[in-house]
Amino acid sequence: MRGANHLPLILLFLPFALLPSLPLGGWGAFLLDVGFFVLLFTALALSWDLVARTGQLSLAHGAFFGLGAYGAGLLAPQVGTLPALLLGAAVAGAGALILGSVTLRLHGLYFAIASLAFSEVLRTLALKLPFTGGPIGLPVPPPFGGTWPLAAYYLSFSVLLLATALSLWAEKSPFRLAQAATRQSEAVARVLGVRVIRVKLWSLLLGSWVAGLAGGVYGMKTLFLSPYDAFSLGRAVEALVIPIFGGLYTTLGPLVGGVVLVSLEQALRLWIKEGYLVVYGAILILVILFLPRGLVGILGRRRG
């Protein structure tokens, strides 16, 4: 696989790199906003796929996202933008470690259930704890003191680049084999010498870091966090529908899926305010039943 074709990746990234410098007139601001969310949620989707490659169904990516957002949002006034983002990611990682250390030894469905419960409880706590601003919300300073309007866009771009790099690394290195073996049969993987729990925990940790980073950047863009927004279940749904739609266990799949679905969502949001997740629920069911390998699967079949 070494020296594989990176052309699709470059073609996907190029428009986003050029977007800020294109002469778009009145549409510029809107398209930059859409672009920001496409980049950010695609990064979140890649981070979910990273965990899914070990066969773990994480429903806690909304929680990691929220932990990163609140961590970075609370720390940014004291320590500055970049350290706050890293610390937010570390908070998300700590959450993942707690969740993983209890559940990853058990049968996979325990992890799925516990991760869903984890995100529900964190929202309850964010509503109740004294320093989060509770239901009123938390104001977040813009990145780098607000001196550079495009900062959030480029931060989002960087998070996606990081997520893509991590995903490509995991795909090209022996780590991929360990992940795939863990997914297909833990017992066999163990016999083959794969340290199953360590592989699962590392995957979860990497995934939660990226999700936490994405959350931190999100807060700096919206300038305001509320528990219902930051810890919303919708985030976890997006994070998992995008890779499944695009093609599981690949790097290209979540990227393609993210560009298509998040753009669609931003457009649909103009008409449907509440309940737009109906679309995601329907896509999830249809793709699992009829298109288990996603968009990339169709393209791959046609090509070869």
Binding site: V102, I113, V121, I244, E274
Partner: protein
């Protein structure tokens, strides 16, 4: 002391409905082997059915119980035929994603149709309380508790005495042997899944009076049921009732004794789930 006893009593009364919902979940998990994230949405269907019948027809929720049982059974059976059966042999990850997708779909469909408001069914006897010495019992929670108990006893008899019930238990114990004995596993699955949904639907009617009907009312019950089922041991039907009592009691204690506990009650189930998992992981290690 009286406060404590009253709290325990409140917990006990709530545990009936919890046990009803969680038994349904354990049934679909134990017999069909499906982790059903949409279980709470069957409950929501029951709750909204009760609300709509009450609001437009003035139907007493007691009458809605039977209708909700049938309606939820139908929804469950359709779900099995359309979604679960094609995916019975799919990887577990896909099965979980499928039911999770259904849960998201139904929740947001209800949100589009009915809005996010909570709606209470208020029959004339809703606020009636009975006093028992120094203690107070709400008529509705007491009725729901007794009814849940009766339904669970009926289920117990069905599972241990009838041929169909025995077939269900046989299928849950072994995937292959019942087929050799002439039991059609797929029909048993269909029945078990429908029955599981029906239990949730009935609980939904009760909750439309005790709590409310809303698009997300089922979701929190899915999570609580998972906590109960994890505490009882996956697919273990007998353990569900005591586990439901543990959760309901813990919630009642938190809401009575913890200052500002009102909002934190919704986090108690996680503590129960977490402890159950820690014990399980520790035993395994």
């Amino acid at each position: 002391m009286e406060l404590l006893l009253q709290t325990i009593l409140n917990g006990l009364l709530m545990s009936g409905v919890y046990a009803l919902v969680a038994t349904g979940l354990a049934l679909s998990l134990g017999v069909v082997g499906i982790v059903n994230f949409a279980h709470g949405e069957f409950l929501m269907v029951g709750a909204f059915l009760s609300y709509l019948l009450f609001a437009f027809r003035g139907t007493d929720p007691l009458l809605s119980l039977g209708l909700a049982f049938l309606a939820a059974f139908g929804v469950g059976a359709l779900t099995y035929q359309g979604l679960i059966r094609p995916a019975l042999k799919a990887p577990e990850l896909n099965q979980m994603l499928l039911t999770f997708g259904l849960s998201i779909l139904l929740q947001n469909l209800a949100l589009l149709l009915f809005g996010a408001d909570t709606r209470v069914v208020a029959p004339p006897y809703q606020a009636t309380t009975l006093s028992l010495g120094p203690f107070f019992l709400g008529a509705v929670p007491l009725g729901a508790f007794l009814l849940s108990l009766a339904i669970l006893l009926g289920l117990q008899v069905f599972l241990t005495r009838s041929r169909l019930g025995l077939a269900m238990r046989a299928v849950s114990q072994n995937r292959l042997a019942p087929g050799l004995l002439g039991i059609e596993a797929e029909r048993v699955y269909l029945l078990a899944f429908g029955l599981a949904a029906a239990l949730a639907g009935v609980a939904g009617v009760m909750l439309s009076v005790m709590l409310y009907a809303s698009p997300t009312v089922g979701f929190i019950f899915t999570l609580k049921s998972f906590a109960i089922v994890a505490l009882a041991g996956l697919g273990n039907l007998k353990g569900v009732v005591p586990a439901a009592f543990v959760l309901a009691l813990a919630e009642a204690l938190v809401s009575t004794y913890l200052p500002g506990g009102g909002g934190l009650v919704e986090a108690v189930f996680f503590l129960v789930l977490f402890l159950a998992l820690v014990v399980r992981a520790w035993r395994l290690a």
